[in-house]
């Protein structure tokens, strides 16, 4: 993750990322279809697994940490994620409230 160009003989970073992404997917499937957990626990745990999956893509495949100077691209991504969270979280919140009062 140092942002240096990779010249080593074997793409370890990519292989590790791939194995982890497959493992996370299998874990999510196993959690949902083989475990008898409460629905809310299942959903929270697969969402956590999805966040790890995204971090693998960003850090190991998309070389997020490579930069020259300040990390403005990370700031724009964080801003995008903030807006996304507000839109999705806010929609669920307001609709849950609506079904509670109606």
């Amino acid at each position: 993750m140092s942002g240096q160009p990779s010249h080593e003989g074997f793409p370890w970073k990519h292989v590790i990322g791939f194995v982890l992404s497959i493992l996370l997917t299998v874990m999510a499937l196993w959690l949902v279809f083989s475990m008898q957990l409460p629905v809310s626990t299942e959903i929270v745990s697969i969402l956590v697994l999805a966040v790890f999956q995204v971090l693998i893509q960003l850090l190991l495949f998309m070389h997020l940490t490579e930069r020259d100077g300040p990390a403005y691209h990370v700031i724009s991504l964080i801003f995008g994620a903030f807006i996304a969270f507000t839109i999705v979280g806010g929609s669920i919140w307001i609709m849950a409230f609506r079904s509670m009062v109606s």
Partner: protein
């Protein structure tokens, strides 16, 4: 995000890979801003889907409709294609044009496999009457997953056009930057799919 913010404060090396040379740095930054806007675009579609998920209007529910085997295969195809695209970038940084061509072609084939699965999934739904106008749930589902699918379609054509340029001109700062950017786009589509897999398909099977 706070975890890797720390690693951003590590001392930098001044020599970034070839694709950042000339004005590549600025163009790659511009593409990250585009991806941030795409995050917002998809978030509105996810919000719409989540709000309408239960509004099936007497039609099929997500639990009845989704096929575990189908969406699992789609997920593995797209995850693998993201990996092979990463290997393409890796070979590009080793100045290995042949390696780039091989891995990028495998990526395109996996992407086509994913698209084929999705098209057959959609046409199966439509054939049993679960079309886009059947219910609010299905409208939101087809718009969300279809928008992702059309991004993948565009991505395949984009990757192929960049591949032609790499084969013609070799790995130059310009072609390296173009290949890196289309790689970012492809990995981003995998990120969106991870959320479709989690929020739409897996959650749709339990709720």
């Amino acid at each position: 995000m706070s975890v890797h913010m720390e690693s951003l404060h590590e001392p930098t090396t001044s020599s970034l890979p070839l694709e950042y040379q000339e004005d590549g740095n600025l163009k790659i930054f511009g593409f990250w801003v585009f991806l941030a806007a795409e995050v917002v675009l998809f978030s509105t579609l996810f919000a719409t889907y989540l709000v309408f998920h239960g509004n099936v209007a007497g039609g099929p529910t997500s639990q009845q409709l989704f096929d575990i085997r189908g969406f699992t295969i789609e997920t593995f195809l797209l995850l693998t294609s993201s990996f092979t695209m990463g290997l393409g970038t890796y070979e590009m940084r080793r100045q290995n044009t042949k390696g780039v061509v091989v891995w990028v072609l495998i990526t395109v084939l996996l992407g086509l496999g994913f698209l084929g699965m999705e098209i057959s999934e959609f046409s199966h739904y439509v054939s049993i009457g679960a079309n886009i106008s059947r219910s609010a749930f299905l409208s939101a589902f087809f718009v969300l997953v279809g928008t992702h699918g059309s991004h993948v379609t565009l991505g395949i054509f984009w990757i192929l056009s960049i591949l032609v340029q790499v084969m013609r001109k070799g790995i130059t700062p310009k072609t390296a930057r173009k290949l890196f950017v289309v790689g970012l786009y492809w990995h981003f589509l995998d990120v969106v799919w991870v959320f479709i897999f989690t929020v739409v398909y897996l959650t749709g099977k339990v709720m």
